[in-house]
């Protein structure tokens, strides 16, 4: 109070539940991708339709992923399945809990709702320019997500992750057959599962890139403690 000094306003950005869910997901997604690549290595060919094996035409054939990318790092289909089937439950029930809690406490409706005005071309252009200038938040509403954040979070939470779960369940012979039918057959579901994994990987890469560009210490701290500090230039 004696002498003026520049303060950086801190805002409480993420609730405890969101933070716990975020880190649980971070772990689950990394484990699921790494173990999934090992499962893929057991038969590194993808098909469309209901059947597909060595004598059938594959639309994608890969040499197999190297050990440093897979879990476990040595070849083990059964070991990879232990990881995959455990963390599949973590991902699926975590998402379910998030949806219930987020709808009840209105976090989803309040913070993730995409409004028509957000999608106006002028608004999108403004936000895009701000992104190129590495400004990712609204100086007038520090807690708000920007439109590109909303679009990508909604896409991952409500489309991509459910698609991964559903296409994964379609592969299970003990589940209802209609789940595989939704995808046009089990091998199509396996292909969709793989493509969705690639999209999830792309999301993780972009997400981490933006965390680094936005100031990794501040961003990671906000996801640990909940408190996020506004940049100084916005202290107006």
């Amino acid at each position: 109070m004696e002498k003026p000094r520049i303060e950086r306003r801190a805002v409480y950005r993420h609730r405890l539940f969101t933070r716990i869910w975020h880190w649980l997901n971070a772990l689950a997604v990394i484990v699921l991708i790494a173990s999934g690549l090992m499962i893929f290595n057991a038969h590194p060919r993808l098909y469309w339709g209901n059947y597909g094996a060595n004598f059938d035409p594959a639309w994608l054939e890969l040499p197999g992923f190297p050990g440093w990318l897979t879990l476990p790092s040595y070849y083990s289909l059964s070991g990879a399945r232990h990881w995959h089937l455990f963390f599949a439950l973590v991902l699926a029930f975590g998402l379910l809990a998030y949806m219930i809690v987020g709808l009840v406490d209105r976090h989803i409706q309040r913070d993730l709702r995409i409004r028509a005005r957000d999608l106006r071309p002028a608004a999108l252009r403004t936000d895009l320019k701000a992104h190129w200038a590495l400004r990712f938040h609204d100086p007038h509403d520090l807690r708000a997500y920007n439109i590109f954040q909303k679009l990508s979070y909604v896409a991952v939470i409500f489309v991509l992750t459910p698609l991964l779960i559903l296409s994964g369940l379609a592969l299970a012979p003990g589940m209802w057959p209609w789940i595989a039918d939704l995808f046009g057959g089990r091998q199509s579901a396996r292909s969709v599962h793989f493509i969705a994994m690639a999209l999830m990987t792309a999301f993780v890469v972009v997400h981490l890139t933006l965390v680094i560009l936005a100031g990794p210490i501040n961003e990671v701290r906000s996801m640990l403690s909940g408190w996020w500090r506004a940049p100084e230039e916005d202290h107006s």
Binding site: I30, V31, A34, I39, F40, A42, H43, R45, N50, Y51, G52, A53, N54, F55, D56, W68, L71, P72, S73, Y74, S76, L77, S78, G79, R81, H82, W83, L85, F86, A88, L89, L169, L171, A172, P173, G174, M175, W176, P177, A180, D181, R186, Q187, R190, I212, P216
Partner: protein
């Protein structure tokens, strides 16, 4: 910045390497029980696997695992077109049976065109025919104390005899059959002649080939390595293979 990222990636790689040691931990493997409980609760015990039309079948159904047991005993049986072969049905049953191929073929038959899903990821659609396992178990008079059905096979992998087991939910499932025919022909040696199990809501490794003996037991503890099957014992595969 670069150093921090290198540190993060390095830490990540170290963590993943450290994860290797947790791969076969009971905590992880417990998920198998959870999936079994969830699937059985959600889908119901008698939900049927998809059956297909003849025009939806795989043009070529690959052989997997053992393609020939290659033991003197099996060769002798195969040379006689399995006319000397008998299926033993024993264990916790009132009437132990010894069934010839002709006897199995004279029981009420079920034919089904189903999709075989290998744990490795490939699928093949074929037609299978044989008596329902339930029919055979009723003929033998399954005792109340029986909990699992064990299938002892003629082939060995790495010296260990192949075997598999299922519980009574799968044993009495309408599509669980002892198949002696595939794609409207007698089962070939590559696909498990003279008899193979089809348990359609489980992955391929549960579909025991070259079945010689069906044994009803109250526990899997005393059999093989005690984990319910060859791959379960040797490689830690899940006993419940519905996912």
């Amino acid at each position: 910045m670069i150093t921090r990222r290198t540190l993060l990636v390095g830490t990540g790689a170290t963590l993943l390497a450290g994860c290797d040691s947790l791969t076969n931990s009971p905590a992880l493997m417990g998920a198998d029980e959870a999936h079994r409980f969830l699937q059985r609760s959600i889908t119901g015990r008698a939900a049927l696997a998809r059956e297909f039309r003849a025009d939806q079948m795989s043009p070529r159904f690959r052989v997997n695992g053992t393609n020939n047991p290659n033991t003197p005993d099996y060769a002798a049986l195969a040379n006689n077109r399995f006319s000397d072969w008998r299926l033993a049905v024993d264990g916790l049953v009132a009437r132990p049976l010894s069934l010839s191929l002709a006897q199995l073929q004279s029981l009420p038959q079920r034919a089904q065109i189903t999709r075989h899903d290998c744990v490795e990821g490939w699928s093949a659609i074929g037609k299978w025919q044989g008596p329902r396992l339930e029919t055979v178990l009723q003929l033998a008079g399954l005792r109340d104390t029986a909990r699992y059905i064990v299938f002892h096979c003629a082939d060995r992998i790495g010296g260990a005899p192949y075997y598999e087991s299922i519980d009574l939910v799968d044993a009495f499932h309408p599509q669980t059959i002892l198949a002696w025919a595939m794609n409207d022909a007698t089962l070939s040696v590559g696909h498990g002649a003279p008899l193979r199990l089809r348990v359609e809501r489980q992955l391929g490794y549960k579909h025991a080939k070259y079945v010689m003996r069906v044994q009803a037991v109250d526990s899997l503890a005393g059999i093989g390595g005690g984990k319910g099957g060859f791959w379960e014992d040797s490689n830690g595969y899940e006993w419940y293979a519905g996912i």
